[in-house]
Structure formats: structure tokens, C-alpha cells
Amino acid sequence: MREITFAEAIREALRHEMKLDDKVFIFGEDVGAFGGCFGVTAGLFQEFGPDRVMDTPISESAILGTALGAALMGLRPVPEIMFIDFTTVCFDYLTNQAPKVRYMCGGQVQKLPLVVRTTSGGWIRAAGQHSQSLEGWFTQVPGLKVVMPGTPYDAKGLLLAALRDNNPVLYIEEKALYATSGPVPEEEYLVPLGQAEVKRTGKDVTLITYAGMLGHTLAAAETLAGAGIDAEVVDLRTLSPLDHDTLAKSVQKTHKAVVVQEACEMAGVAAQVIKSLVDSSFGYLDAPIKTVAALNTVIPFSPPLEDITLPSADKVVQAVKALMA
């Protein structure tokens, strides 16, 4: 199968949907002729024109408010918030507004097709206000789906599924993955929201992860294989709703689990995964569930400091070895 990058896979999904439906339009800061801060929308402005790919003022609240109003009217907006760190200035729309409209009006509004794209994660040497992994916050919002792909294949399939979902979806793209490549079919396919996937089968321990940490975790699994430890790797892909069944099935087979996330450890997705496993699989566990996450500190600019703040394949290997000892 042909290989393309993570960024190309996202662009391919956007272009595919824009060709199918002229109600789909993209807007945000620098998404037009510039092609987006990370080049994801490159060429779309030239292909679809200024009515379908629109640059906006630096007004994140207006971007998401406009998107919500347009979705209420039956358009299918795909707004972009350049960094997830910037969702803090338009948090209202992702918490109080879009996810609540349908419920609070008693279903007078039925479809609310709104996919908010944003970027996440570190390793770009941009320090504490451009490198965070804030996805956990949004999983606490009823009415909002949160999606975070870890491969180019899933990036395309999940984005197409999100674009057809008819509900508000926060689609988070790991910046460090944009340049990574992988096999992606040219034709249309959907990766259903809410379904995790076993990316590597194993029998000794389950490593649960998502997004940017997937590659690190798969690398750790290979290293562990060399040490005689056969790890299974589960990729969450959708963080809300969480796929409890796939998690339970894997851990009930391996009896041990390590959860790997790039976000700092406190009260995040990993904590919820552990809660899910305690509920479903407590009696199957042979050891406490461990977490590998960013340190609970601000992500520093200085590259060596950033590297030790964020999790890594080495840290996953160490955590698993300690668990198996």
C-alpha cells in the first residue's frame, strides 16, 4: 500500500469530504494561502477557493462561535485552533456551548456537525504554552467526543468518521506525528469513533496508549521482546467515549497493565483508563497498574530538560521491567 505522512492523511480526508459536500468548509488562523501553521491545509485554499478555506482574525472565540452558529444552520464547519494551548481562550465553546446545545434545548437541534481540529504535544522546542497535552480536560465534557489518532491510517479514517458524526468532535493532532509516514488507502474508509485497537498482540503485559506515545510504546515493546517480555499494545484512538471492552479484554488476558500518555500524570486519560480497569478487571490483575506520563511540571524550553520531562520509550521499558520483576 502507498505510504503518506500523517499530515497528508489529514489533508486527504479534508479534501475528500470537501469534494463530496460543499457545506464543508475550513477556517482558522493562517489556514488559507499559508496552508496552516504546520502545512496541513496546504493547497486547499488554491483548490477550493476563499469561500471554502477562510483565514480569520486572531479571534479564537469568534472562530468557534462562528463555527457553532454555522453548524446550527446545517453547514459543516471544520474550524482549526492552531495549538490546543489556545483552547484556553475559547474553552467556553468546547465546554459550555457546542457540547450542550442539543441537550439543553431538549433536542430541538438534532444534528450538530462540528469538527474542531487542533494540535497537541511537545518535542517541538516551544516551551510551556505551545507543547501541552490537554486532551484529558475535554474528556470530562458530556456531549463532546475526543479523538486522537496515532498513525496516518487512523488519522484519515478517524477524521472521515468525525466529519460524518453529526456531533461536536474535538480532533487532536499530535504535532510530532505530522512528518511520520505509514500506509494509507487512497479510497474512502472510516475508523469508527469509540473503538480502540490492539496494535501489537502479546501475552505478558498490556501497554495502553494513544497519539504521539503510540510509536514510542511500540518501540518499547520491541525492546522488551528482546528481553523476553511479550507486550500487547492497545491504541485508544478515541478518548471519549472510551472503549472499556477492548481494554478489559486485553488486561484480562495479560493480567498486567501500564498506561502511557504524554500529558502530565495528574487526573488525565491514564487515570480514567486505570479506573476503567479497576472496575472491569480488578480480580484479573497480578500487579498494580503503572503509569508512564510527563512529569507534573511546566514543559521547559531547554531541549535536554524537555526530553526528561516528557515520557519516552526508555521510560516505558523501565516501567514494564520493574512491573515484571
Partner: protein
């Protein structure tokens, strides 16, 4: 000024009277302890509600504030389902899940109130964008208070709407108090409308206690917007007669001040205009009041007889379950 058909003028009068009765009945229910939650009443602002809605087309869209039950009633919503919603009943417009502060009536193109000040102004841009693409000359009006004019969204929304030449009408209802803080202490200029200059859009001020002045101002402004000239900002100066919420003891304004405000009663003023110009008789106006009272009584009975939503409603309407077919 009074070149509207008599039928429309009398209908406007009746709606103003109906809104006043509706709101006062809610005040009584709060006092009696039968209505829970925060209730913000628009008594004294009926000229704004009726003037704005009478000037808009049924095909326009509008959103309003937490003090605007009257706006949605003036939009033509069913008074029974309005009251039922405010009391949290299953027969309410939002199945009792929104309540007073989040009332919305989509079949009247009234997206309603928002519990957060500011977002309605940016959301209105999205509605306006869709209307612009439809090209039918409809506009999106957003009504917000002088307090919400100080949110950053006021700036973001107007700049955005002006850049994209959206058919958006921003209506600031300045009732001079943001909860307890007086407008004079919270705003650096005398008129919110003066800020329009900063966006290169029209900014107008009108007397919000005169329903015909409101009607004229909205009609004129909407006309400019329908012509595709982009957004406009209209400020309506009025006053609220009651506290910010029911139960607010209002230590921030004197009884004398309130008495002065009440002398500007928009309903008495409109009645006087109608009578003086021979457009209505005392008996006609009285008959409209009786009719409105009767409809309110029916709404009260409807609400009292309605059930609360059952627990099976807890998770309905959270998500749409069908994926879009291609």
C-alpha cells in the same frame, strides 16, 4: 410613526401586556416558593422585546438574553410551553432541561438565551454566515445587555462580522445595570453604540422605552444589513424595574431612582400614543388585557398539570446517533 396597520399596532400592544403579565406571574411564583432557580425578569423592557421582534421578519434568526422571556414570546412562541419550560416541565420547549436561562424556540428561529455572556454574539456570526450563503436577504440579530458588551466577544464578534460583511445585527439593550454595577462605572464612553466607529460599521442609539422608536430603529438598521452592507450595532436605552434576579434587594439603586425609571413605563406610553392618535379606544385596550390575562391563566394551568421529565430523559439528546450518509 404610526403608519403600521392598526391590527399590527394592537397586536404589539397585546404582546407587551402579555409579557408584563407573564413576568409578574413568575415573580409571584418565586415569592411563593414554587419556582426554583435563577429568574431574571424583563419587566420594564417590553418595548425592546416587542419593538425588535415586530421589525424582524419571521425568516430572520435571533438570539436574546437571560432577561428576555419577552423576546421569545414576542417572536410568537407558545406561552404554555414557555411557562412549562421555566418550571422545568416535560412539556416545555426544551423538555425542562434548559429552564428560564436557556430557553430556545428553534421553530420560531429564536436560538434563545445563553447562560454565558458573550458567546451569543460570536455564534450569531455563524448563523449570519449561513444566511449570507443562502442569499435570501435574511439577517441574524443578537440581543445582549450592556454587561455583555464588556466581554471580549463583543470585540471579536463585531470585527469578524465587519471583515466578512455578515448580515448580523448586534442589539445592545442598555438597562444601565450589570447585576449591581452601574453602566456609568463600567463603561468608558456614554454610548456602547459609539464603539461601532472602531469597526467601521453603523452605530445607532434609540429610546428603548418607546416601542415605535425601537421598531423604526431596528427596521432601518435591518434594511441596511439586508442590502449586503455588513453588520450594524444598535443600542436601546431602557431600564429594568426588578432586581437582577428575583430576590435581589437592589442596595445599589435608590427607590427614587426606580420611581423615575417607572415613570417611563413603555406600556403606558404606547397606550397613550394609540389613544391620542385615535388608533384604539380604552375599551379595546382593556379587552386585549383581558385576553392576555386569560391566555396566561391557561398557561399556568397547563404548566401545573404537566409532569416533570422522567429519568429516561437524563441521557436523551446528548448525542445524535446517526452518522451522515454519503
Amino acid at each position: 410613526m404610526m403608519d403600521l396597520p392598526k391590527e399590527k399596532l394592537l397586536s404589539m400592544y397585546k404582546t407587551m401586556v402579555a409579557i408584563r403579565g407573564f413576568e409578574e406571574s413568575l415573580a409571584e411564583a418565586v415569592t411563593a416558593g414554587t419556582l426554583p432557580g435563577f429568574v431574571h425578569l424583563g419587566v420594564g423592557q417590553e418595548a425592546v422585546h416587542v419593538g425588535v421582534c415586530s421589525a424582524l421578519r419571521p425568516t430572520d434568526w435571533m438570539s436574546s438574553t437571560h432577561r428576555d422571556h419577552g423576546m421569545i414570546l414576542a417572536r410568537g412562541a407558545d406561552i404554555k410551553r414557555m411557562r412549562a419550560e421555566i418550571f422545568g416541565k416535560a412539556t416545555g420547549y426544551c423538555k425542562g432541561k434548559g429552564g428560564s436561562m436557556h430557553l430556545a424556540v428553534y421553530d420560531k428561529r429564536a436560538t434563545g438565551c445563553n447562560g454565558i455572556l458573550g458567546p451569543s454574539q460570536t455564534i450569531n456570526n455563524g448563523v449570519a454566515l449561513a444566511l449570507k450563503r443562502e442569499g435570501q436577504g435574511n439577517i441574524a440579530a443578537v440581543v445582549f445587555g450592556d454587561g455583555a458588551a464588556h466581554r471580549g466577544e463583543f470585540h471579536e464578534a463585531l470585527n469578524f462580522a465587519a471583515c466578512w460583511k455578515l448580515p448580523a445585527l448586534a442589539i445592545c439593550v442598555n438597562n444601565h445595570y450589570a447585576i449591581s454595577v452601574c453602566f456609568d462605572d463600567a463603561c468608558s464612553v456614554d454610548d456602547i453604540a459609539a464603539r461601532a466607529a472602531g469597526y467601521g460599521i453603523p452605530g445607532l442609539v434609540a429610546d428603548g422605552n418607546d416601542v415605535m422608536a425601537v421598531y423604526e430603529a431596528v427596521s432601518q438598521t435591518a434594511k441596511i444589513i439586508r442590502e449586503g452592507k455588513g453588520p450594524a450595532l444598535l443600542e436601546l436605552k431602557t431600564s429594568r424595574w426588578r432586581g437582577h434576579f428575583e430576590g435581589d434587594p437592589q442596595p445599589y439603586r435608590t427607590p427614587e431612582q426606580l420611581a423615575t425609571d417607572k415613570k417611563k413605563d413603555p406600556i403606558a406610553r404606547f397606550a397613550k400614543q394609540l389613544l391620542e392618535q385615535g388608533l384604539a379606544t380604552d375599551a379595546e385596550l382593556q379587552a386585549l388585557k383581558v385576553q392576555a390575562d386569560q391566555e396566561l391563566q391557561e398557561a399556568i394551568e397547563f404548566t401545573d398539570k404537566s409532569d416533570y421529565p422522567g429519568p429516561e430523559e437524563l441521557f436523551t439528546d446528548l448525542f445524535y446517533t446517526e452518522r451522515r450518509a454519503v
